[in-house]
Structures are given as structure tokens and as C-alpha cells.
């Protein structure tokens, strides 16, 4: 029992990172009603930005947030405005295909520029731990991921509750026509929403870059994690996304603990299937 504490602790901390990986995807699914297949690749793009700014140009990891996250907002905004908005309409598949295509283009662009080599962004705290008891250690980078993830989701929540734009985004997701009749330009609002979603993806990408190794193709792995978290949580609940991130991460790490590292992903997906079977709308789902 005692040796279970470490994977559970790691799982909880990793869950915070999973939540922030997923929150942008789930927000866009809830608001624009589009499954953004490029989410993972856009996220990894920010990991590479982090590589360039921190490892190559020597910017401090802290300041890199202030460069990459606003940049991600503009990328998301124009991605929605120039590409997704054009194909938004009656049918489901055109936006999916465009998003999928953007993902493939990004992957290959990264491959071209950065080669398929594994990369990681080394930061000072990378391997440090805090010992709670002699056998239980808190990895500092996981703790950082968790805290930043929690902080970002809290800020996002406040933004959606308290600002005109945040309320307009929620209103448009509730009833698009009614929102337009209130004077909301829903296309513009969608572009802002994608910008904000991509900001969260950028934070996730930077954290992933500092925590794990990544390749040009890693994006799709994280897309699956984001998708899993969004399904477990159900759409439209931020608290749910956070809890679901923790559930998925703990399930993965416990699976890895009992069955070996090769079974991490599988055990995560088994939890996903169980949730789909028992509560198809997700644990906290409102839609």
C-alpha cells in the first residue's frame, strides 16, 4: 500500500498538467462546436517556441511565458478567423478536415525545421524533488505544472464569469442566434475564444516542454490525452476538467505501476471507456 502513494501523488500532480492540456480543446468543443484536431500540434508548436527562446536564445523560462502566450493568442485568433470561420456552417466535417490539415502541416513544418530528434527544455529545477517522507518525494517540476495549471484554469474561470467577452462566449455557446440578436458578433467572439484556447495550449506546451521530451509528432499523443480528459469531464465544466485530468493521470500511473510502463496509456483509456459506458455525458457534463 505504501508504495502506491508515490504514483498516486505523481498522478494528482500530473493531472493538473493534463487539465490544462485539455481545457482549450474542451472550451472550443463547447463554444464553437468544433473538435479542434490541431490542438495538440498547436500545443507542441509552443514547446518548440520554448526550445528556441529558452534553450537557444537564453531567455529565462519565466519570461518565455510572456512572449509565447501572447503570440499563441494571435496564432489562435487568426487560425479561427482565417480558416475555421470560413468553413463553419451547416455541416460538421469541413472544420474538422481543416483543423486536421493544419495539424499535419504543423507537424511537417516542425519536422522540417527541427528534425525528428527528441528535444527537451532543460530548466534548473528539472530533477529536483522535495522529500515529504523518506519514501515519498514530490517532483518539483510536476508541482510547478500542477500549480500553474490550477492557476490558469482559475483565471479562465474568472474571465468567463466576470467579463463582457467571457459572458458573450458563454452566451454564444448557449444560443448563437440569441447572442447575435444581443449584438454579439459571434464570428469575432469565436476567434477570441480560439485565441484564448490557444493561450492555454501554449502554457501547456511550455510546461510539457520543460517536463518531458517532445518530437514533432508528439502533438497527437497529447490530443488523445486532451480528448480523454474532455470526455471524462463532460463539456462545459472547468472544475470537471481539472478533476478529470487527475482521474486520467492517476489511472495511467497506477496502471503503469501495476502492469509496467507499457500499459500506462491503456489503463488510461480503460478508465475512459468505463466513463463512456456508465456516464456518456461525462462525470460533470451539462451538455
Amino acid at each position: 500500500m505504501k508504495d502506491l502513494l508515490q504514483p498516486i501523488l505523481n498522478g494528482i500532480l500530473l493531472g493538473g498538467l493534463y487539465a490544462i492540456i485539455a481545457i482549450g480543446l474542451s472550451t472550443i468543443m463547447g463554444i464553437v462546436k468544433v473538435m479542434n484536431f490541431a490542438h495538440g500540434d498547436l500545443m507542441i508548436l509552443s514547446s518548440y517556441f520554448c526550445l528556441v527562446f529558452v534553450s537557444w536564445l537564453g531567455l529565462s523560462p519565466f519570461w518565455s511565458f510572456f512572449v509565447i502566450v501572447p503570440l499563441a493568442y494571435f496564432i489562435g485568433y487568426f487560425y479561427q478567423r482565417r480558416l475555421i470561420n470560413r468553413v463553419l456552417g451547416k455541416e460538421m466535417d469541413p472544420p474538422l478536415i481543416v483543423a486536421f490539415g493544419v495539424g499535419i502541416i504543423l507537424q511537417n513544418l516542425l519536422l522540417l525545421i527541427f528534425t525528428p530528434d527528441a528535444r527537451s527544455v532543460m530548466i534548473g529545477i528539472g530533477l529536483k524533488t522535495i522529500a515529504l517522507t523518506p519514501s515519498l518525494k514530490v517532483p518539483v517540476n510536476y508541482l510547478l505544472d500542477f500549480s500553474i495549471g490550477l492557476g490558469v484554469i482559475f483565471c479562465l474561470y474568472i474571465f468567463f464569469q466576470k467579463t463582457y467577452l467571457g459572458r458573450a462566449i458563454r452566451a454564444a455557446s448557449d444560443d448563437e442566434i440569441a447572442a447575435r440578436l444581443m449584438g454579439v458578433n459571434t464570428r469575432t467572439v469565436y476567434a477570441h475564444a480560439m485565441g484564448i484556447s490557444n493561450m492555454t495550449a501554449a502554457v501547456a506546451g511550455i510546461l510539457v516542454g520543460m517536463t518531458f521530451t517532445f518530437y514533432p509528432h508528439t502533438g497527437s499523443e497529447y490530443l488523445f490525452i486532451a480528448f480523454g480528459v474532455a470526455i471524462i469531464a463532460g463539456l462545459g465544466s472547468m472544475k470537471g476538467t481539472f478533476v478529470a485530468g487527475i482521474i486520467l493521470a492517476v489511472a495511467q500511473l497506477l496502471g503503469g505501476h501495476f502492469l509496467g510502463p507499457g500499459y500506462q496509456m491503456v489503463s488510461g483509456h480503460i478508465i475512459l471507456l468505463i466513463v463512456l459506458l456508465v456516464k456518456p455525458k461525462g462525470i460533470f457534463g451539462t451538455v
Binding site: 459572458r167 452566451a171 448557449d174 444560443d175 442566434i177 440569441a178 447572442a179 444581443m182 449584438g183 451539462t286
Partner: protein, 238 residues
């Protein structure tokens, strides 16, 4: 030229997908008036309002709002000019609170500065909304939702309010109350266009009426000048 006119619709044709929904429809509303548009289901009433508000664009004809062309403008621009709508079926945002629903009504930049004054005015008009202010929109009763929809439309400090079937699905006593409030709103100087299936009530409230049948204006006049037989004939098309 068109001074004193809040709205002038001239000869509009509107297609809804492939369906020719409005044929050469013309309509005028004087500033400060209550004008009624009556018609059976599918006569094009809602299409007319959707076109005026900018959700649909006419393929021919013009729409002038206080002398300014607005045909083809998207809703966020018509709202910014002072046009507001109480949509059919109320369309309350279900997962926003009553307060947030009202605040959404003042989303347009022009009305944001007036928000707290407008809010006070509306809560005075519909006190029940005050007690419900932190409830989710979908927890209100039908009558309360209709009051909220009207209140939300007034939050933008509009010059003209389009009301689409505000009595639909409500108990007669509630409808009566809502019509009384509409009169009060009109007395504040806001022009109102009422779209209804209910002939009697709507003619009683309005100063001028249009009757639509299959996308065409078939009869118009002041309620006192319209005789009941003619109205019935126009309404049913027999």
C-alpha cells in the same frame, strides 16, 4: 424626407434557403407608435423580423431605420443603431443567470455605459426579476422568461423593439400583464412592432396593423378602419 419614421421597409423580397418567404413587402412605423403585424403560422412574420434585425438579408428592397439604410447589415450593427428584438420562443440563455442574461442585453458598446441605469429601470418594471437575479435562466417560469426576454431587449436602450410572438404559450392573465408593461414601455418613447397570431389582442394594442398572408401584405390600416370580416378573410386567405 422620412422624418418621423422609425422604420420603413420598402418592397423587400426574402428567401429562406430556396423558399421565397417574403414577396415585395412594404411596411412603415412612425416613431413612438405600436405597430402590429398579424398573420397565421408560416405567413412570414418571423422572417420579416429576422430580416429587419439582420439575421437574414433581403435579396431586393430596402430597410431604413430612422432614415438610415440598414438592409444587409449584421445584427451587431443594427443593435448598435438602437434596434432590439424579443425573439420568438424567448431564447433565454439557459446557463447564464438572470442577471447575466440582462447584462448580455447591454453588450453593444453604445449601451454599456448606460448599463446600471438600464438595469434599475428594468428591475423596476419587472420586480420579479430582481428576486430571481442569481438563478439560471432555464429555471424561470414561462411568464418570467418572457419578462426577462423583454427586459434583456430593453437593456440596450433601444429606439425600436421588435416583439416576436410574446404571448405564445403563456396563460391569458400573464399575457395581459405583459401587454400592460408593453404599453408602459411604449409610453417611455420606445417604438414597438408586435408580431402576433392573436388578432384581437394585437389589434387592441396597436395604432396601425399589417396582415401578412403567404409572405405578402394583404391588408393594412388602423385597427378601427379594419372590419372584422376583412381581417379574418385576409388572415385565413379564404
Amino acid at each position: 424626407m422620412s422624418k418621423g419614421l422609425a422604420l420603413r421597409v420598402t418592397g423587400i423580397d426574402v428567401f429562406y434557403k430556396d423558399f421565397h418567404a417574403l414577396w415585395n413587402v412594404s411596411l412603415e412605423t412612425k416613431e413612438g407608435a405600436i405597430t402590429s403585424v398579424i398573420g397565421a403560422n408560416g405567413s412570414g412574420k418571423s422572417t420579416l423580423l429576422s430580416t429587419v434585425s439582420g439575421i437574414l438579408a433581403p435579396s431586393a428592397g430596402t430597410i431604413e431605420f430612422f432614415g438610415e439604410r440598414i438592409d444587409g447589415l449584421p445584427p451587431h450593427e443594427t443593435v448598435a443603431r438602437g434596434l432590439s428584438m424579443v425573439p420568438e420562443g424567448r431564447r433565454i440563455f439557459p446557463r447564464l443567470t438572470v442577471y447575466e442574461n440582462l447584462v448580455m442585453g447591454s453588450y453593444s458598446p453604445r449601451s454599456r455605459t448606460l448599463r446600471s441605469r438600464a438595469l434599475d429601470k428594468i428591475l423596476e418594471l419587472f420586480p420579479v426579476l430582481k428576486t430571481r437575479s442569481n438563478q439560471m435562466g432555464n429555471t424561470l417560469s414561462g411568464g418570467e422568461q418572457q419578462m426577462l426576454a423583454i427586459g434583456r431587449a430593453l437593456m440596450s436602450d433601444p429606439k425600436l423593439v421588435l416583439c416576436d410572438e410574446i404571448s405564445l404559450g403563456l396563460a391569458p392573465v400573464i399575457i395581459k400583464g405583459i401587454y400592460k408593461e408593453l404599453k408602459r414601455i411604449n409610453e417611455l418613447g420606445i417604438t414597438i412592432i408586435l408580431v402576433e397570431q392573436d388578432i384581437t389582442r394585437s389589434l387592441k394594442a396597436a395604432g396601425y396593423a399589417y396582415i401578412l398572408l403567404q409572405g405578402k401584405v394583404v391588408l393594412e390600416g388602423t385597427p378601427s378602419s379594419l372590419n372584422e370580416e376583412a381581417v379574418k378573410k385576409a388572415y385565413f386567405g379564404v
